[in-house]
Amino acid sequence: MKKYKKVMLIDDSEIDNLVNKHILSKSDIADEIQIFSLAQDALDFFTNSDENNYPQLILLDINMPIMNGFVFLQEYSKLLGDRTSKIHVFMLTSSVDPNDIRKSEDYSFVKGFISKPLSLEHLNKF
């Protein structure tokens, strides 16, 4: 398991954020866990903050209100350009739709697709 300075969770579900935060902190995978329950807020963070504050790993939900995971990926890709290569994104979702898996594979910086719930075994993938 790699060790990260910062991991970002983007998920609208409070419970999932609670569970995921619990597992991540227990595993000691990151020094800091940053949580956004709205994808737009996460985008704003990337717009407004210094590159040094960027996470090295993002766990992204797909099915979210207003801006879903795929729209986020599009905007995020546009916004960060080449800088996306430094940040690994994993889709973390309850979706088991093969189409969703395929769609997320369009982005080279998306490194995997994890079915909820997140467990300690998943963390070895990161």
Binding site: S13, I15, L18, V19, S94, S95, K116, P117, L118
Partner: protein, 501 residues
């Protein structure tokens, strides 16, 4: 022996005697009625049914010509033969012109018999022909009545599609009078989107050259709207050469049926989407619950609470199984097949090892007879679904009363197919339940904790893959599933190659 009744018009006794004798010489039952004048002749023609009339050409009270005319007025279909003396052939010829059938010279009276026999045959065949013509006419009339009065439209067109017969029901069906369509081309009225399908279907039919061909298409009515028509076609052949001449079609309006079909299709699609969407939407909160349970298990110390969490987890996992099965079903019914080249032995051993953690696994002896080299081109997720569901049943329903439980898996290829047999000596399925075993939500075992979807998924997946599944089972003896799947190795040659890994 034939019997012939003659009407003889002859005044001279000697001639009459000769005549009668010349006939009676032959093997024939002959009756004679002799008359001398017009009045008697008329009466005789009314009273009797004669087969032939023989008349002298000159009589004291009546000429031969007059006798002939009188005879003709009765319009009988029997021969009239005139007698003449040698040297009076010109009169005889005149009689022939007037409609006598033959003349016999008295000095050769023996010819009369042959003339009569010949003429009787001739008249008989004329009578037959008249009868036949009448029958044909009646039958034609009958067919015309059927064609004109049927609600279905009956048409005949040649090989290029030009109509040469249209029944009057064209009016009710399409708004055209038959005359509007005659010598027009049927293809000109077809909906452009249906034209190719109908043409190629008919060409196939012509190539085959026999049987009945049914096709449906949209046809432009006189008012410009299209109507869905279904036609049943049959070929017609030239009588003498046997060549295909054209096509007879019986056509009916199936618009209502088509509308109903498309509504039904829509509903089925809606239903599938509903299952798919709701399963997906339920999956989210369920995954949250599973996550929470995982966290609770590691955090909560209280024994009672841990027990309850364990029970919640079992319920949640059961719910998860149902959702995954429902999702699998929608994937099987709606999804497209993604082909890849797979090694069957590997698929089977992977499936078996996925069960290693089950308690029952260790109780079972695994007997495998699988050709390591079997490759098939199929959908990985579907075939894994099949293997998983069939094998897990064999494990779950092993017979606890037996000490030598086994699951035997045999696979071999034949004729571009693979036959996969999964056999166990488990509890088996009671005979009365076997017919329902592949039904949706059917659970054949009271101890079953499953979703009742496993074998339904298996059957649908096998059929989607172009295969078949068969069950043989005996209660307390065991079950044997035989699955046949196409190897599909020829697909490699087609464009689908790009989908292969």
């Amino acid at each position: 022996m034939i019997s012939v009744k003659f009407l003889i018009i002859e005044d001279k006794d000697a001639d009459y005697e000769l005549l009668v004798r010349s006939i009676q010489k032959h093997d024939i039952k002959a009756d004679f009625v002799r008359v001398l004048d017009a009045q008697d002749m008329r009466k005789a023609l009314i009273d009797h049914n004669f087969d032939a009339v023989v008349s002298d050409y000159i009589l004291p009270k009546l000429t031969g010509l007059e006798a002939l005319r009188l005879f003709k007025s009765f319009k009988l279909n029997i021969p009239f033969i005139t007698l003449s003396d040698t040297g009076a052939e010109d009169i005889a010829l005149e009689m022939m012109r007037e409609g006598a059938d033959d003349y016999v010279v008295k000095s050769h009276i023996e010819r009369l018999y042959h003339s009569v026999i010949h003429l009787l045959h001739k008249y008989e065949s004329i009578r037959q022909k008249v009868k036949l013509d009448k029958a044909i006419k009646e039958s034609k009339e009958q067919y015309r009545l059927i064609a004109e009065n049927a609600t279905d439209m009956i048409t005949r067109h040649d090989l290029l599609g030009f109509y040469n017969y249209v029944s009057t029901s064209s009016y009710t069906l399409l708004g055209y009078a038959p005359a509007d369509l005659l010598s027009k081309n049927a293809y000109d009225f077809l909906h452009p989107d249906d034209l190719e399908k109908v043409k190629s279907g008919l060409n196939e039919f012509l190539k085959m050259g026999l049987g009945i061909h049914t096709t449906s298409y949209r046809y432009k009515k006189k008012d410009g709207n299209y109507v869905w028509i279904e036609s049943t076609n049959k070929l017609t052949f030239k009588e003498n050469t046997g060549e295909i001449e054209g096509v007879i079609s019986i056509s009916r309006d199936i618009t209502e049926r088509k509308l109903f079909e498309s509504k039904l299709e829509e509903k089925i699609k809606e239903l599938d989407t509903f299952i798919y969407r709701s399963s997906h939407d339920l999956k989210g909160p369920l995954a949250s619950l599973q996550g929470l349970i995982n966290v609770s298990k590691s955090e909560v110390q209280d024994i009672k609470a841990k027990e309850y969490i364990g029970l919640i987890e079992r319920s949640v996992n059961h719910l998860d199984n149902i959702l995954m099965d429902l999702l699998n079903i929608t994937r099987i019914t709606q999804g497209s097949i993604k082909y890849s080249k797979l090694n069957l032995a590997t698929l089977i051993s992977d499936t078996i090892s996925s069960f290693e953690n089950l308690a029952e696994y260790k109780k079972i002896e695994w007997l495998l007879d699988i050709d390591e080299n079997i490759l098939l081109i199929t959908d990985k997720s579907l075939i894994n679904n099949v293997l998983h569901n069939v094998i897990i049943n064999a494990i779950k329903y092993y017979d606890r009363n037996k000490s030598n439980s086994f699951v035997k898996i045999v696979a071999h290829t034949y004729n571009q197919n693979v036959e996969l047999i999964i056999e166990d000596n488990g509890e088996g399925i009671p005979e009365e339940l076997q017919k329902n075993i592949f039904d949706m939500f059917f659970r054949g075992n009271t101890k079953s904790s499953g979703t009742g979807l496993g074998l339904y998924i298996v059957k649908n997946a096998v059929e989607k893959l172009g295969g078949q599944i068969e069950l043989k089972s005996k209660e307390n003896k065991g079950s044997k599933f035989t699955i046949t799947l196409p190897l599909n190795l020829e697909i490699v040659q087609s464009n689908e190659l790009k989908f292969l890994n």
